[in-house]
Symmetry: C2
Subunit: 477 residues, 2 copies
């Protein structure tokens, strides 16, 4: 059958379990590594991968029995596919994050290991208030998961869903407030003559944080519709955040890029055990990026495991649950580790997709329930799907659509005689890719999407580390 | 229709909203009350009551549409009744607990209020680690709710459900461990010659904590089956915990009971602004019992609101969600506020029901899927339901049942010639009450159950404050 569970090689479990165990045991062996909890986090992430790989197919029938299934819109068959299986990812992810608490925050376990006998910066334990921050983050993730799942069960309407990420961000905001979190931001150089160097946003900062959660969550949710699209976005973004975090850890190597050759003011150096990478000796920066890694590594684990079963042709669907979970996880690290601007740079394809979608989201252009590409079963190809104007578009809609068409972002079908717009392609990045690159099959399209996401991340790193010097002095994020 | 939503008087909302607002605003007015956050908690609890009262009927149709409904087994009609509506109680409860964070833990709000200008002990703010404890408690409640709801959706089998409360207690245990929680217990006087005064239970203490969660959760869940049974138990236990907490707060009154007349070593005194009730000046005891109140007051709010719609004839069913939520809430306060032994005393009817159920739970006596009393539609009366022995009982079963029958805990039907047991009444407290007090209708039975629970609590207070002196010295809990 086309939708029988994808087979799993037994060598995988025999190969990965010892590796994972080694990472978990390693901090307790001599010589103690620089960042013991990080090793444990990697070990946990491998277990997250394995658990997801095995549980997704195992629980498929249970989901179908509980009425949680869907049919693949872009296939010739109509077999029911388990839906909302992001719930399994979320359960594994949150359970592991909780079990990780003693390793990251306990004196008893880690205090006995390292006694500053390592060279360089050693992060032996988090301050106690970090535990509150960690717990509030898990709480936000769990609320996002629960509400995402309720959305799948109750099929909440689009307009009622929007506040869900705001509710999920309440624990973050409350703890941020109770801990008297910083609400000042650094003003970009060109605007300093107006606002000064630092400006205290006060309550606006809280609104910014909840909007960040809303954006991260919904932007992944609306870039959906083909096998593997949601989870692959999440995977690339998580990997980008991890690469960014790694730049701030104390590495035993040290190298510099001669960026002044590109016109930068200073050369870019990172690494060096004493300088703790780009943290330049700041213990706080190291601990923030460690915090981010603790959330991102297991997320990569569950996303990878899920992608295996969600890959074309999909054996499992993520449901809104996965989008809410991953979106909230990104918002959490962006907010708690204080790199929300850098984080947003990794969302370039999502931002593009959101802006492109705006005319449909805000009612200028008719928005059908599904905007997925149109499937041609004979050629097994996807074409851009179209939205039909039952009434002639208003002047604004007409104007917006013609501008979009000029830039090649949509294709219009006009009346042969009077030129009225009859149809336009649906305004999503997937239809845009099909429009510009020609029809392709679902697998090629998801690969193209992944490629776009990777290019977006490379661009993000370039902007962050090469161009940011133009608007921010020092090492602002 | 017999199951149309129960009407709500508009005077309720007009009457209660100003009262709730007054409690929330009061701490910001001069003179500042002794315990400002407690006022806000009471205000929130009134809002919890109102929200539950209005949302339960409002969301009923949504639940039925999402396949979450059941039919009342003990009624003549078969109208679908919304099931799992404990989810609404849980959502309101957890949301309010989160919104309460800044009031309980923020310097910004409460620091500006009180500056120790009050007479007596003033709890101005929690220590920071208390925030972690508070968050881990919410996390446990949220996990219990989510898993309870998943149980309702996926209809998890009895044996697979048992570990759910253990999973939900993980955050509690992890934070307890990370914060190096105390694992020593005071040994009762008669055992001191063996163990000494204090004994460190170590890992056993963690097992005790997760077993407490399991017991609190499942014992409420198995005392179910008639309208209002689950939520009324929870309500009485929560009220008992509140009364117990109030004994430890700094009251401006001061009175003593001459307990030495009853043979107690010392007289029992509480009250007095300087002695902080039974806390005898211990700031830690006051803050622990405040912590308990912050969880119990809104629980009473949602339980009262739910009971209104769950009262005979029920318009809404709680589902496992409510049992998990309330059970976990009790476990949380028992563990975090360190009065687990006192808490267990409030579970006397549940302990009785559990012990009575053991022969059926552990397979000595056949256990049908439902053990609710038998409904006689003509007389509108409930009779004890019976379980049928398809095979003659084993020797142990026979022995156990005959002992139970001797004490009047069950009624046996035996073969007229050889005396083999053919039938026994199901071993639950509800059937036991019907057996001893005769058939009654569902409303009378739930009232009897509530009465039993209240008598149990009075007994609990007597044991705790009058008899405990016989096995513990000082003021041990």
């Amino acid at each position: 059958m086309a939708t029988a569970p994808r087979p799993l090689s037994p060598t995988l479990i025999f190969g990965l379990v010892p590796v994972a165990c080694w990472f978990i045991v390693r901090p307790f062996l001599d010589p103690t590594p620089q960042l013991p909890a990080l090793f444990i986090s990697i070990g946990f992430s491998i277990f997250a991968l394995l658990a997801t790989l095995y549980l997704i197919p195992a629980l498929g029938p249970t989901f179908i029995k509980a009425n949680l299934y869907g049919r693949d819109l872009l296939k010739t068959y109509h077999t029911p596919i388990p839906e909302s299986q992001g719930l399994i990812c979320a359960s594994i992810y949150i359970l592991l994050l909780m079990l990780f608490i003693p390793f990251a925050f306990s004196d008893t376990i880690l205090g006995s290991i390292s006694n500053n006998k390592n060279e360089g910066i050693s992060i032996r334990e988090f301050p106690h208030y970090q535990l509150a921050v960690y717990l509030s983050s898990i709480l936000s993730l769990l609320i996002a998961t629960t509400l995402g799942f309720l959305d799948d069960v109750f099929d909440i309407r689009w307009r009622h869903k929007l506040p869900i990420p705001i509710i999920a961000s309440i624990p973050l905001l409350m703890v941020y407030f109770a801990e008297r979190g910083n609400t000042t931001v650094v003003v970009p150089l060109p605007l300093r003559f107006l606002f000064g160097t630092l400006v205290n946003l006060g309550p606006l900062y809280y609104i910014y944080m909840s909007l960040l959660s809303t954006f991260a969550t919904n932007s992944i949710n609306i870039l959906a519709g083909i096998n593997g699209s949601e989870v692959s976005q999440a995977l690339i973004i998580a990997l980008s955040v991890i690469i960014n975090d790694l730049l701030y850890l104390p590495w035993p190597i040290d190298f510099r890029l001669p960026l002044y050759l590109l016109g930068n003011k200073a050369e870019l150096g990172f690494g060096g055990v004493w300088s703790a990478g780009m943290a330049y000796g700041s213990t706080e920066l190291v601990s923030r990026h460690l915090f981010s890694l603790y959330f991102m590594l297991p997320l990569v684990g569950v996303c990878l495991g899920f992608l295996y079963h969600n890959w074309y042709p999909a054996r499992a669907f993520p449901g809104d649950t996965l989008c809410y979970l991953t979106g909230m996880a990104f918002a959490v690290v962006g907010i708690q580790a204080h790199f929300s601007k850098t984080l947003l740079l990794f969302f370039i394809p999502q931002i593009f997709n959101f802006i492109l979608s705006c005319p449909q989201l805000f009612g200028l252009v008719p928005c059908p329930r599904h905007r997925v590409p149109r499937f041609d079963p004979d050629a097994n190809l996807l074409h851009p799907s179209k939205t039909l104007f039952l009434q002639p578009p208003s002047k604004i809609s007409d104007f917006v659509l013609r501008i979009l068409a000029t830039f090649g972002l949509t294709e219009l079908t006009t009346h042969p005689s009077n030129g009225t717009i009859l149809e336009s392609t649906n305004l999503t990045i997937l239809n845009f890719l099909l429009l510009r690159l020609g029809p392709m099959n679902e697998k090629q399209l998801v690969k193209t999407l992944i490629f776009t996401q990777i290019v977006g991340s490379i661009l993000a790193f370039f902007i962050r580390y090469c161009l940011a010097g133009l608007v921010y002095d020092g090492d602002r994020r």
